[in-house]
């Protein structure tokens, strides 16, 4: 009932926009907050080189990005968790997932008097977050860290209270490592936590962990680095205990590249390969393969090409890992399918 008038309004706005600025192209997007720092940097840098293209990005969250791109109120979306089959079916056209950079979650903790990094496995992290491991000197933790002199204090579990891609990556990893987690809790941007307290945002979790002795939480790598919070290494599929670094996160994507599905909707947590950090993930742009506005489409494709090549060098300084070359190659091939005329 409402649709025709809304469409008419949008059409009028578009017509006006074209009339006023015949030369310059404005593209609107919305979605994930996690890649917002690098996206802002990209749009800014790209805008300097191409003053006639203006890209607006609203970091409203992955869920919001998927909703808005489905409703076609924005030209492109962005998400930290790939769209579900259900969501893809609900969209009015075929949507392309394009990985842009990689990020990682790290387990942070506050253990006064314990020096050296703590080692975790996925199963142990899952048991902590399931509320089954409640003391730091639990046999499972002592076995992994025989020299660490773990105290007999209670474990205070801290998680995100807001829905977040950071949470999605973390629980996706837990679900792969623990069948019980998969069955009891599942994977989503917010879940029903069996235990613990919620902090709002990465900064909320980091703040709680820094204040409560005996606490454990998970944050994006960049937050742990910036706030100088101790974070542990995590065992990967190859059995190595790996710390999150730009290299070990990129390695996770390289390991997954061989088995990359054509639509790029792939989870690379717990990826195979040597030197791989297991709590890593892509973050994606969402583009229609056949968008209505071909001028915007052309500009957007040019931008994505730039982001996948020159843009990648901004990743490391902002705490993201650049895409491996194989993945970029596959994406450029996929990008050729986007209709620009």
């Amino acid at each position: 009932m409402k649709r025709p008038s809304t469409l008419a309004a949008i059409a009028c706005t578009l017509a006006l926009g074209v009339g006023v600025a015949a030369q310059s192209i404005q593209i609107n997007g919305a979605g994930a907050t996690f890649p917002n720092p690098i996206y802002s940097k990209w749009f800014d840098e790209y805008g300097k080189k191409n003053p006639n293209v203006r890209i607006n990005y609203q970091p409203i969250g992955s869920g919001g990005g998927i909703r808005q791109v489905t409703a076609q109120t924005v030209f492109f979306g962005a998400t930290d968790g790939p769209m579900t089959e259900e969501q893809i079916l609900a969209a009015p056209g075929k949507i392309l997932h394009l990985p842009t950079v990689l990020g990682a979650d790290v387990p942070v903790y506050n253990l006064p008097g314990v020096s050296g990094e703590i080692k975790f496995t996925g199963a142990v992290l899952a048991d902590i977050y399931l509320g089954k491991i409640t003391k730091w000197n639990d046999p499972a933790l002592v076995k992994l860290n025989p020299t660490a002199k773990l105290p007999a204090t209670d474990v205070t579990v801290v998680h995100r209270s807001d829905g977040s891609g950071t949470t999605y990556i973390f629980v996706d990893f837990l679900a792969k490592a623990s069948p019980e987690w998969k069955k009891r809790v599942g994977v989503a941007t917010s879940v029903m936590w069996p235990t613990g307290v919620g902090g709002k945002g990465n900064e909320g979790v980091a703040g709680l962990v820094q204040q409560v002795p005996g606490s454990i939480g998970y944050v994006e790598l960049i937050y742990a680095l910036q706030n100088k919070i101790a974070y542990g290494s995590v065992q990967n599929l190859a059995g190595e205990f790996v710390r999150a670094t730009v290299q070990s996160v990129t390695a996770a994507a390289a390991g997954a590249a061989a088995k990359m599905p054509a639509d790029f909707r792939v989870s690379i947590t717990n990826a195979e390969g040597k030197g791989v950090y297991p709590i890593s993930s892509f973050t994606w742009l969402l583009l229609y393969e056949n968008p209505k506005d071909k001028a915007q489409s052309k500009a957007m494709v040019e931008f994505v090409k730039w982001a996948l090549s020159d843009g990648q060098k901004f990743a490391a300084e902002l705490g993201y890992a650049p895409l491996p070359a194989e993945v970029v190659k596959m994406e450029l091939a996929a990008l050729a399918k986007v209709r620009v005329s």
């Binding site: 998927i66 909703r67 599942g186 307290v197």
Partner: protein, 318 residues
């Protein structure tokens, strides 16, 4: 004469239209909330108010922990803030030396101007650690009482109640102060004339102003119910129904703010909107109850004290 009455009519219709507009806006908000949460209303019905499961993965939603958390934290804030706010109001209106009055008014009202995110940050870095020390210092025998049970986390109901109390104090105190100022001077003069002490005279003024003061308290309560950002930063965000002041809990406004952006299914979104509807309904209910309370007070006041007041009129005071 005729022109004048026409002007009156226009004025009446104009202002009437604005009054109708307010009613229409409230009704409109209610209607939109209902239509936007229809999936959830249909699926969960009244169970939504009573169940404690909030599982976005399984698509199972119940609002009880959030309703509980909102009411608990707001009532706690009311209990802490009301005596303090009334104390401030009485001191400023009745007892304060004149040169101190303006600075005090300014400072209490400054509290109202601080953005809630700033309160939240202050809560995380100052209030929560202090509350944690208090919780650690709580003797063991007290911890056996459900009201004080649980590990010393700092974040939780007590921190939320305290921060809300600080936030609503300026609202309650400034309205109460204005109400006290509007008590006719004859009331006090009458009391003094009858030989009342200062304390008794203030008591009489408070009694006279009591409907306004209840209104001031309810205004604070309304603020506390809807406060979002500061609460979510210190309450611990764990959806559970617990009597403990030390337990992390959750509130309605906080869960909407936290989860709205990432709500990825229709049902999830509708459930969040229905939380908004519940909050709207509870706020409305609180307002209606406070209206009813004030109304019944004014009525009993008129009934009971009008005859008693008659002799204490100007003639008697003179």
């Amino acid at each position: 004469m005729k022109r004048g009455s026409q002007g009156d009519l226009g004025f009446r219709l104009g202002t009437g239209a604005f009054a109708v507009l307010v009613v229409a806006i409230v009704a409109g908000i209610g209607a939109v909330l209902i239509s936007e949460s229809w999936l959830s209303i249909q699926k969960f019905g009244l169970g939504f108010w009573q169940t404690t499961i909030w599982d976005p993965v399984a698509g199972d939603f119940g609002a009880l922990p959030f309703i509980w958390g909102t009411l608990y934290s707001s009532i706690l804030a009311l209990l802490i803030a009301t005596p303090v706010a009334l104390g401030i109001a009485i001191f400023i209106a009745e007892l304060c030396p004149a040169p101190l009055r303006m600075p005090l008014v300014f400072l209490t009202e400054l509290l109202a101007a601080i953005p809630s995110i700033v309160y939240g940050l202050w809560g995380i870095f100052v209030l929560v650690p202090a509350v944690r020390q208090l919780e650690i210092a709580t003797p063991q025998f007290l911890k056996a009482v459900p009201l004080f049970s649980g590990p010393p986390l700092g974040v939780g109901m007590l921190s939320a109640g305290l921060i809300l109390a600080i936030m609503i104090t300026p609202f309650t105190s400034s309205v109460a102060r204005e109400v006290l100022k509007s008590v006719p001077i004859e009331q006090r003069e009458g009391a003094y004339a009858l030989g009342a002490t200062r304390f008794e005279a203030i008591k009489a003024a408070l009694f006279y102003a009591r409907t306004g003061i209840v209104g001031a308290v309810m205004l604070g309560f309304g603020r506390a119910l809807g406060e979002t950002m500061a609460v979510t930063m210190v309450i611990g965000n764990a959806p559970q129904v617990s009597a403990s002041l030390f337990a992390p809990q959750y509130s309605m406004a906080a869960v909407i703010a936290n989860e709205f952006t990432e709500a990825d299914t229709e049902l999830y979104l509708d459930a969040l909107v229905e939380i908004g509807l519940v909050l709207f309904a509870i706020t409305l209910l609180v307002n209606v109850l406070s209206r009813a309370l004030i109304w019944s007070m004014t009525r009993s006041f008129k009934k009971a004290s009008t005859p008693a007041l008659m002799p204490a009129g100007p003639e008697a005071a003179a």
